[in-house]
């Protein structure tokens, strides 16, 4: 029987939903080269704004806490990357390598990925995912996983298009109300 170890808050969170994309992509950004790099403190405002577009909540304390845990934490297998177009932050991905949880071999977990709605269809999410997977590979793992709501067909389709398949694990839950 597999060992079930409760994950910490980060890996329990479901992968973030991407808000619906607008009808057209801003043409200026479409011509701007993308680059992927580790998050910097000055990027947080853009990340918080992007998250608020999806969730409707500005969670500054939460994002500051996440930044402290994930920025400059490559040695511990934590990754918080941003995609930039010119000087603008247009997307981010967060993930980490977790060892032996749920009875599994060490593997990479992507628990948040988002791209600004007006910067979709430029391949930013693909580049973010590829970048974090590359870091997972360097850490010696050969599998990447994520978890998201099955109603979230937009991001499910994205992960599927990247080659992700249903994993051998089944998420379970129950109500704790009496």
């Amino acid at each position: 029987m597999s060992k079930t170890t409760p994950p910490d808050a980060a890996s329990k969170r479901r992968t973030k939903a991407m808000a619906p994309a607008p009808a057209a992509v801003a043409p200026v950004r479409a011509r701007t080269a993308l680059s992927i790099r580790a998050v910097r403190h000055e990027d947080l405002d853009a990340v918080i704004e992007m998250d608020a577009m999806v969730t409707g909540i500005h969670k500054r304390d939460y994002w500051n806490s996440l930044y402290r845990r994930y920025a400059d934490a490559v040695a511990t297998g934590h990754h918080f990357l941003v995609a930039t177009a010119g000087s603008e932050v247009i997307g981010f991905v967060i993930g980490e390598v977790r060892d032996w949880e749920f009875g599994s071999q060490p593997c990479g977990w992507v628990f948040a990925i988002d791209v600004r709605p007006d910067a979709r269809l430029m391949g930013a999410a693909t580049q973010l995912l590829q970048a974090i997977c590359q870091r997972f590979r360097r850490a010696g793992v050969s599998k990447v996983r994520t978890l998201l709501a099955r109603e979230n067909t937009l991001i499910l389709s994205f992960f599927r298009s990247q080659g992700m398949m249903i994993s051998p694990f089944i998420p379970l839950e129950m109500d704790l109300e009496q």
């Binding site: 099955r150 067909t153 389709s157 992960f159 599927r160 298009s161 249903i166």
Partner: protein, 149 residues
């Protein structure tokens, strides 16, 4: 989830067309490849043509070609054209507690199947096909010795 034959034929045909959207593929070619009668396949292709997923091209060298958006068209979009896709909330018409419990478990399976079918586009399917072809073409890895328990 078991798909009816017409649904499977629709998916096979669309994937053949979408793999090479510039080419007009005769229905007979698809029928031969999948071992079905051209007459049977014609009904399926007529429906795909009616809903604007393929276009029929008449005359010498004619056939069908894909005119949909392979990055947007999902398996569920196709399946729902050919068979009833039931809601996943469970069968509330079950009269007994056992019946309702069984319906509840079966609805879990339907919900997962529906989520999968709704999130896989034709383009993603074509990538899965490519990966499987590449895996088949690759030299087989040596078999691991069975471990003793």
């Amino acid at each position: 989830m078991k798909l009816q034959q017409n649904t499977r034929l629709a998916l096979f045909s669309l994937l053949e067309f979408a793999a090479d959207p510039q080419r007009q593929i005769p229905a007979a070619e698809i029928a031969q490849k999948y071992g079905v009668s051209s007459h049977h396949l014609a009904k399926v292709l007529a429906e795909l043509s009616r809903v604007g997923m393929v276009q029929s091209v008449r005359g010498v060298g004619g056939g069908y070609r894909f005119i949909g958006n392979a990055r947007r068209l999902t398996l569920m979009d196709v399946i729902s054209r050919f068979e009833d896709v039931l809601p996943v909330e469970g069968n509330h018409s079950e009269a007994t507690p056992v019946g309702r419990a069984l319906a509840s478990v079966l609805s879990e399976i339907d919900a997962i199947a529906k989520a999968s079918m709704s999130s896989i586009t034709l383009e993603t399917m074509l990538r899965i096909v490519e990966r499987q072809q590449a895996a088949s073409a690759a030299p087989a890895a040596p078999k691991a010795k069975p471990s003793k328990h």
